[in-house]
Symmetry: C2
Subunit: 209 residues, 2 copies
């Protein structure tokens, strides 16, 4: 099937949403933990977390201020702090439920069945169950003028990974911790163990690490 | 293992690169096709492609102008056109090889063993072998001031997916087409078929679609 720009504009909105959300490939599955000025915790699943750089350690995250993630966005603007927590296979039903439009006075931690964990008074709650937890401080809030989306740039100020999953060179075995991949708006896929390749060189065939 | 901000700054650079590149979760595997003003084709693997919105259909991609992707970046700035091509399991060794620092006069299509496909005079080459191909036009080039990275925002102006992988509601079955997920800098993982869940509601448990 082939769609032109005009074809895409003319598509049924629901079909287009599924199609365009799927076409970029697999996405990471993360729960974003925040709290408001009164300390009420909030948790929401995001598939838009991206690596931006390792020195300094920066992570990006896209959000649309007017959508369901608005509590997350408001809390991050207010406190400057948020957590990124890996979603494993056993967490996936509960993690998806966090995308429901719960009221502002409700905490998705309680309603979806996750334990809020506070580490070293960080200022945002972590998901106790996640084998990989990141504490971020907001650095920039960049508007994507083409559609009003926001790119939140965060600095990694705390990182916790269960020891057994970290290789001697720093690589984290996401498959071994049963981290899920997201496809489209509503698909969740388990991932098999993979291969690592050596740094590529023009005159050398690809070699396993 | 737990690292503070100071611990992260003090890490060995190679260890930190692997650790921070892994911690955000699985990433999509895509080959970016471009050509220069003289029509010489270029191909490079990227793990930084992100969905930005479906109406209009917008896709983002992060690049660091000074790094190995410079030919891709220069070509996109010059022509305003690029293609995003899904990487399946049988393509993965060749796709990784495209990250080597080939010379400007060399085409990764030839050197890595991919066929360049021109569709409707699009202005950038597609990868014939990919079951999912996207043609993009550059809309914005946004600097992430925190580290000098660039977010290229592109409008989807052509999309081609092998029929058998598109569900009646527009969802693309990435696992069925053996699309790979990337972990860290150099890990490639096959993905299992997954589940889809219904739109989440506060008072309803998560239900399979």
């Amino acid at each position: 099937m082939r769609w032109s720009s005009a074809d895409i504009d003319a598509l049924d909105a629901h079909f287009r949403k599924n199609l365009i959300n799927s076409c970029t490939g697999f996405k990471p599955a993360n729960l974003i933990g925040t709290q408001n000025a009164e300390g009420l915790t909030n948790l929401a699943i995001f598939s838009s977390v991206v690596h931006l750089g390792s020195d300094p350690a920066l992570i990006g995250m896209f959000t649309r201020p007017v959508q369901v993630e608005r509590h997350t966005y408001e809390n991050i603007l207010r406190t400057g702090k948020y957590t990124i927590n890996q979603v494993s296979e056993v967490m996936v039903e509960r993690a998806h439920h966090s995308s429901a439009r719960f009221g502002k006075a409700q905490s998705e931690f309680d309603l979806c069945g996750f334990e809020a964990q506070f580490i070293e008074n960080f200022g945002a709650p972590f998901v106790a169950e996640s084998a990989l937890k990141i504490g971020c401080e907001l650095v920039s809030n960049i508007e994507i003028s083409a559609n009003g989306t926001r790119l939140l740039v965060g600095k990694v100020v705390m990182l916790e990974v269960a020891d057994t999953f970290v290789a001697s060179d720093g690589f984290i075995d996401l498959a071994a911790m049963n981290t899920m991949a997201i496809s489209g708006l509503d698909g969740y896929n388990p991932v098999k163990s993979g291969v690592r390749f050596e740094y590529a060189k023009p005159d050398k065939p690809t070699t396993k690490l």
